[in-house]
C-alpha cells in the first residue's frame, strides 16, 4: 500500500512539471519566433492593411491596379517574362542535369563548381556583366555581327529581351540542381529495360526518361516561375523604364511616388500569387523540395 501512495506522489510531481518541460522544448525557438512575428509577420500584415485603408478605406486601390492599362501591362510583362524564363531554364537545364548524372566524375565536378560559383557570385556583379555584355557596343553584339547573324547591333538591353537573358542566366542553377537530384534517383535499370523492350533512344527519352523526370521539372519550374514573379534587381537594371515588372512597380510606387495604398495593393497581388503557387507546389510535391536551394 505504501508503494502505491509513493507512486501517486511521483505522478503528482510529473503533472506539475509538464509545463516547464514543454517550455524547455519550445523555449529555445522563442527568440526566432519573436523575431519573425514582430519583424516579419506584423510588418507584412500591416502593409497589406494599408492597401485597403489608404488613402481611404475601400478596395479602390485594387480597382485602380486592375483597371488601368499601365498596370495591366506590368502584370503582363511580369507573367510573360516569368513564363519565358521558366521555359528556357527548363529547356536548357534538363539536358545539363541529365549530362551531370551520366558524365564522368571529373567533368561533372567542374560543372558543379561553376554552377555553385555562379549561384553565389554577387547578383549585382552578374547583372552588371550582362549590362556590359549586352549593350550595343558589347561583346555579344560584336560576336553576332562577326558571324554575320546581324548587320547592325541589336538592342539587347533596356528591354524585356535583356531581362529575359539575364534572368534565365540567374535561374539556371535553381533548375539544374534539383533536376540533377531527380534524375540521379532514377534507376538505370528502368532505362536498360526500356532498351531491351525495343525502345530506341528517342523513344526511351520521350516515353521513359522525360516522364520520370517530369515531377522534378514541374517542381523546379514552378519554383523558378515564383522566384521570377517577384524578382527586382535584374529587371530594374537590365529592363527599360517603359516596360516594368511587378517588383519594380511596387518599389517605385512606394519609394518614388509614396503611394502606399497602391504600392501595398501591388505587393499583396504579388504575395498572393506567390503563396498560391507555393501552396500548389506543396500540395503536389510535399515539403521536401522547399528548402532545395
Amino acid at each position: 500500500m505504501s508503494s502505491l501512495t509513493e507512486s501517486r506522489s511521483v505522478t503528482g510531481r510529473q503533472g506539475g512539471r509538464r509545463m516547464p518541460r514543454l517550455f524547455g522544448e519550445v523555449g529555445p525557438a522563442l527568440p526566432a519566433f519573436l523575431l519573425i512575428v514582430f519583424f516579419f509577420v506584423a510588418p507584412v500584415v500591416a502593409l497589406l492593411l494599408r492597401s485597403v485603408l489608404e488613402p481611404v478605406p475601400g478596395l479602390q486601390n485594387y480597382e485602380t491596379l486592375l483597371g488601368s492599362a499601365t498596370y495591366i501591362g506590368v502584370f503582363a510583362n511580369t507573367f510573360i517574362v516569368s513564363t519565358v524564363v521558366t521555359a528556357a531554364a527548363l529547356a536548357i537545364g534538363f539536358p545539363v542535369a541529365w549530362a551531370l548524372v551520366v558524365m564522368p566524375m571529373t567533368w561533372s565536378r567542374i560543372v558543379f563548381a561553376i554552377l555553385i560559383l555562379s549561384m553565389w557570385t554577387n547578383l549585382l556583379a552578374r547583372t552588371y556583366a550582362w549590362m556590359v555584355l549586352l549593350q550595343r557596343t558589347g561583346l555579344i553584339n560584336k560576336m553576332l555581327m562577326a558571324v554575320g547573324l546581324t548587320d547592325e547591333p541589336l538592342t539587347l538591353v533596356n528591354n524585356l529581351t535583356g531581362v529575359t537573358i539575364g534572368m534565365t542566366y540567374i535561374m539556371l542553377p535553381f533548375v539544374i540542381l534539383p533536376l540533377y537530384g531527380v534524375i540521379s534517383n532514377i534507376d538505370k535499370a528502368v532505362l536498360r529495360a526500356a532498351a531491351l523492350c525495343g525502345a530506341n533512344r528517342w523513344q526511351a527519352l520521350t516515353r521513359v526518361l522525360l516522364p520520370l523526370a517530369a515531377p522534378g521539372m514541374a517542381a523546379g519550374g514552378l519554383m523558378v516561375f515564383v522566384m521570377s514573379l517577384g524578382y527586382f534587381v535584374t529587371p530594374a537594371l537590365l529592363g527599360g523604364t517603359s516596360n516594368m515588372m511587378l517588383a519594380e512597380l511596387i518599389a517605385q510606387l512606394v519609394q518614388s511616388l509614396t503611394d502606399w495604398g497602391l504600392g501595398s495593393a501591388a505587393a499583396f497581388v504579388l504575395l498572393l500569387s506567390t503563396l498560391v503557387l507555393y501552396g500548389l507546389m506543396l500540395k503536389f510535391f510535399g515539403t521536401s523540395r522547399l528548402g532545395g536551394q
Partner: protein, 267 residues
C-alpha cells in the same frame, strides 16, 4: 541506356557539347568582369586597348567605397553571430522538441526565404519608418537577419538531425550537465553545420541588395547599395573591379566550405 554514359553513342557528344556550352555561358560573365576590371577603356570596349590597374586604384582611393565595404562587413558579422545563435537555439527546439505544430513552426521560420524580398523590403521600410530605425545599423541587421536565419536554420536542423542524440545522452550519463554536454560534445559534433550556417548567413547579408536599398540612408550604405546606385548612373569600370573582388571573396568562402566539409567528414 540513356543513363549509361558508354551507351549513349553520338548523343553523348551532343549532350557533352551542350553542357560545355552552358558551363561557358555560366562562367562567361564572371570571367568577363575580371578581364574588364583590368581593361583601360572607360567605355568598357572589349577586348580593351590596353591593360591597367587604374580602376582598382580609384576604388581604393574612394573613401565612400571603403566605408560601404566596412559597413557591409560589420553588418554581415553581426548578422552571422545572431543568425547562428538564434538559429541554433531554434533548431534544437525544432529537432529535439516533441511538441505539436513543430512542422508548422519550421515552415514559418523558412518563409522569409521563399517570399519575394521586395514585399518584405517594402513592409519593413514602412515599419522601420514608424519605429525610426530606418537607415540605422539596427535596421540593417534586423532586415538581413530575417533572410539569413532560414539558411542558418536549414543548415543546423540538418546537422542536428544527423547527430545521434545518444552521443549527447552518453555525455550526460558520464556526468556532464545537459548544457555542458551540448557545449563540449554536441556543438563540436555539428561543427560542419555551424560553419555552413555561419558562411551562408554572412554571404546572404553581404550580398543582399533589395532590403538594403530600402534600409539605406545617404550616410549609411552597404557595398551592394553603393554598386546599385553607381550602376543606376553609369557603367563605370570601377564597378568591374569591385565585382571582381566580390567574386574573389565568394571563391574564398566556397573553398573554405569545401575544405571544412572535407576535413570534418574524415577526421
Amino acid at each position: 541506356m540513356l543513363l549509361d554514359f558508354d551507351r549513349l553513342g553520338w548523343w553523348r557528344w551532343a549532350l557533352g557539347g551542350f553542357t560545355a556550352a552552358v558551363a561557358a555561358f555560366l562562367l562567361l560573365p564572371i570571367v568577363f568582369i575580371a578581364a574588364l576590371s583590368f581593361g583601360s577603356s572607360q567605355w568598357l570596349i572589349f577586348p580593351p586597348p590596353s591593360w591597367t590597374t587604374r580602376w582598382y586604384s580609384e576604388l581604393f582611393a574612394d573613401q565612400r567605397w571603403l566605408d560601404a565595404a566596412l559597413n557591409s562587413l560589420k553588418i554581415g558579422l553581426v548578422v552571422t553571430v545572431l543568425s547562428v545563435v538564434i538559429g541554433l537555439a531554434a533548431s534544437f527546439a525544432l529537432v529535439r522538441g516533441r511538441f505539436r505544430g513543430r512542422e508548422t513552426l519550421k515552415a514559418l521560420f523558412l518563409t522569409p526565404m521563399i517570399l519575394p524580398v521586395v514585399v518584405l523590403a517594402v513592409a519593413l521600410y514602412a515599419f522601420f519608418l514608424r519605429l525610426g530605425i530606418n537607415g540605422t545599423m539596427t535596421g540593417f541587421v534586423i532586415a538581413h537577419l530575417l533572410v539569413a536565419l532560414p539558411f542558418s536554420i536549414l543548415a543546423l536542423t540538418t546537422a542536428l538531425e544527423g547527430f545521434d542524440k545518444s552521443i549527447e545522452d552518453a555525455a550526460i550519463l558520464c556526468g556532464a550537465s545537459p548544457f555542458e554536454a551540448k557545449m563540449r560534445v554536441t556543438l563540436p559534433g555539428i561543427s560542419a553545420g555551424l560553419f555552413s550556417a555561419a558562411i551562408f548567413s554572412f554571404l546572404t547579408s553581404w550580398d543582399e541588395v533589395v532590403l538594403a536599398i530600402f534600409m539605406a540612408s545617404p550616410t549609411l550604405q552597404t557595398l551592394p547599395v553603393r554598386i546599385w546606385s553607381t550602376l543606376r548612373q553609369d557603367l563605370t569600370p570601377v564597378v568591374a573591379s569591385v565585382s571582381t573582388l566580390l567574386v574573389l571573396v565568394t571563391i574564398v568562402l566556397m573553398l573554405l566550405v569545401a575544405l571544412i566539409r572535407k576535413g570534418l567528414s574524415k577526421p
